[in-house]
């Protein structure tokens, strides 16, 4: 991967290049004697429109890899290009800009309990001030409709079930048309039916929106939606 020289601080790469491109990434926590290496020479690509699952036992470094791709941690060794931005040489402001193009779905829904479902979704648009208020409202209602919560837009999270809350979280991640979706065990806290619903929803929205999904999961029940499965062990990609 050779970044094309540009005036911008973030080098842009060709249009047909992969959405995620990782080359020989090493990552360690701690310093000196306490140093513990988590990732060893991780290299892989994710193309546009792909649904990729990341599996492996706990401690294999899946989540750490996800936080690097999500621009939540700084890459120190290796090259990582996400959405045409070279994260290994990005400033904190570049990292924040990258996050705004990504839809995150967490194990916990992490909804703000003092906002209704609709307000939680609308909050994302604060990061996109160019979208008008009426448009924000229309989009938020539409996406909640799409995840099957059209009847509950004005409910606070306290009055929604676990599956419904996770669906609001999915709606929030997808609302502002992200260019990449990162999900960390979105089904872990859900029963099999709700988990299935959430995954189907992701798949359906990813297919229609053409947006790639990278999902960390332990859940063998949902492996069938993947275009590709990357298996990790001890910080290395095994297959």
């Amino acid at each position: 991967m050779i970044p094309v020289a540009k005036q911008q601080s973030i080098p842009f790469v060709g249009g047909t290049s992969p959405v995620i491109s990782a080359r020989e990434i090493n990552f360690a926590f701690g310093e000196g004697e306490l140093r513990k290496q988590i990732l060893f020479d991780v290299s892989f690509d994710v193309a546009a429109g792909e649904i990729v699952l990341l599996t492996g036992p706990s401690g294999s470094g899946k989540t750490t890899l996800l936080t690097l791709i999500g621009a939540l941690r700084h890459v120190r060794e290796g090259q990582l290009t996400v959405l045409s931005r070279a994260l290994h040489r990005a400033s904190p402001a570049d990292l924040i800009a990258t996050r705004r193009d990504i839809g995150f779905i967490f194990q916990q829904h992490n909804l703000l309990e003092f906002l209704t479902a609709r307000q939680n979704v609308e909050l994302v648009f604060e990061l996109h001030p160019e979208i008008s208020k009426s448009e924000v409202r229309r989009k938020s209602l539409q996406i909640l409709e799409d995840v099957g919560l059209g009847q509950r837009v004005d409910y606070h999270p306290g009055r929604l079930s676990g599956g419904q809350k996770q669906r609001v979280a999915v709606a929030r991640a997808l609302a502002a048309s992200p260019r990449l979706i990162l999900a960390d065990e979105p089904t872990a806290a859900l029963d099999s039916q709700s988990g299935r619903d959430v995954v189907n929803l992701l798949q359906q929205l990813a297919r229609t929106g053409g947006c790639p999904v990278l999902m960390v999961t332990h859940d063998s029940r949902v492996l069938d939606i993947a275009d590709r499965i990357i298996h990790m062990e001890d910080g290395r990609i095994v297959s």
């Binding site: 989540t63 967490f106 703000l112």
Partner: protein, 384 residues
């Protein structure tokens, strides 16, 4: 800013009970600050009320006088030299002393401040005083201060209904023929006003030649500061001349140094500030800590630390408003209660209202600034 404010508002109002408790803390802080500072100002204003009423351009006092309420006397003959200056219009002498007033209802004696002031065109603003000049010329006729404490008995009511009241002052029968409102101080519980002649009758041991205060009225256009210098030569070192404003300042400084008003009430206000600071900090800190995963999520989504700072600062601002408004009205009510209980006049001033409002903003803003450090420690990588 608008969206962070809306978020702050929704977060605070989600738990009404918590919000009520938090606001109550700020209410107490605001009220304490307003009341303490108000009483401080009130005690000061009431204590120098008489000096503020002096209309003379210049005042003569003994060099030994620290406060005119316990004035040292100086020879009256010095005052007779002053009209020799062409710019001096009039000179009046004034006497002041403590006497014992017998409460005619309980027969108990209470100390009272007595002033001997000319009743014709006095060089003091005493509304209603010279109107009673004809009565005051009569032997042992005096006027009572309507703001005096109730320990002297229902004097005001009796004088209003019966026209007069007879009792003893310094074991001499006197007649109260009128009431005027001037004000008492932390050093005097009540005041009596009368002519110098009647004053000297109450204090047979005092020589008429030993006066406590000289009041000088200058001719129009004369500069008090220049005259102060020129007239000082007439008096030598036996008496000194002050301008009216210098007299007020001197009295205020005397009170500051001799009565611990500033310290006591300043301390009370500081305690109020501290209470408010701790309460707001506690509330905001808990609010931030409880929402740390959500704040981390917001950061992961691409919100900046600056946005979170705006949210917490907005919450601090909302708490300031919710605490200040009821605290302000509570303080107004307490001023009335205190005016009745302490029998001194307490009132709200714009300056104090604005000052306490700024203090409230500083108090809440400071708490927010410390609490927000916790929010900034939220690591978006921890939410996975």
């Amino acid at each position: 800013m608008r969206s962070s404010f809306a978020l702050a508002w929704r977060q605070l109002t989600h738990h009404r009970m918590k919000l009520a408790v938090a606001s109550a803390g700020v209410v107490v802080a605001v009220m304490l600050m307003l009341v303490q500072l108000g009483i401080r100002q009130g005690a000061m204003d009431n204590s120098v009320a008489l000096t503020r009423r002096v209309t003379a351009d210049l005042v003569v006092v003994s060099p030994r006088t620290k406060t005119i309420f316990q004035a040292a006397s100086f020879p009256r003959r010095l005052l007779f030299r002053l009209p020799a200056h062409p710019q001096v219009a009039r000179v009046q002498e004034m006497y002041q002393a403590q006497a014992r007033w017998r409460n005619p209802w309980t027969f108990q004696e209470h100390p009272i401040s007595v002033y001997g002031i000319h009743s014709e065109r006095p060089l003091l603003k005493l509304p209603g005083y010279s109107e009673l000049a004809a009565d005051l010329r009569l032997r042992d006729h005096v006027i009572f201060d309507g703001r005096s404490r109730t320990t002297y008995g229902p004097v005001v009511e009796t004088v209003r209904s019966k026209g007069m009241l007879e009792t003893e002052v310094n074991r001499r029968l006197i007649r109260v023929v009128g009431v005027i409102d001037v004000g008492i101080s932390i050093t005097a519980d009540g005041n009596l006003y009368m002519t110098p002649e009647n004053f000297l009758r109450l204090f047979p041991g005092r020589s008429p030649g030993a006066v406590d205060l000289g009041l000088i009225e200058l001719k129009p256009g004369a500069d008090p500061l220049v005259l102060k210098q020129e007239l000082q030569h007439y008096l030598g070192s036996e008496a000194i001349i002050l301008t009216q404003s210098a007299l007020v300042t001197a009295e205020e400084n005397f009170l500051r140094e001799n009565a611990p008003i500033d310290f006591i009430f300043g301390m009370g206000a500081a305690v109020g500030f501290f209470i408010g600071f701790v309460v707001v900090y506690q509330i905001l800190y808990t609010e931030v800590t409880n929402h740390l995963p959500q704040f981390a999520t917001m950061k992961a989504m691409g919100f900046t630390d600056g946005f979170l700072l705006q949210v917490v600062l907005s919450q601090a601002f909302i708490l300031s408003v919710l605490g200040y408004v009821p605290g302000f009205f509570l303080a107004l009510w307490l001023y009335e209660v205190a005016t009745k209980a302490i029998q001194m006049q307490f009132s709200m001033t714009w300056g104090r209202a604005l000052m306490v409002w700024s203090l409230t903003l500083v108090m809440c803003g400071l708490s927010a600034a410390i609490a927000v450090r916790k929010a900034q420690s939220a690591d978006p990588a921890d939410v996975f």
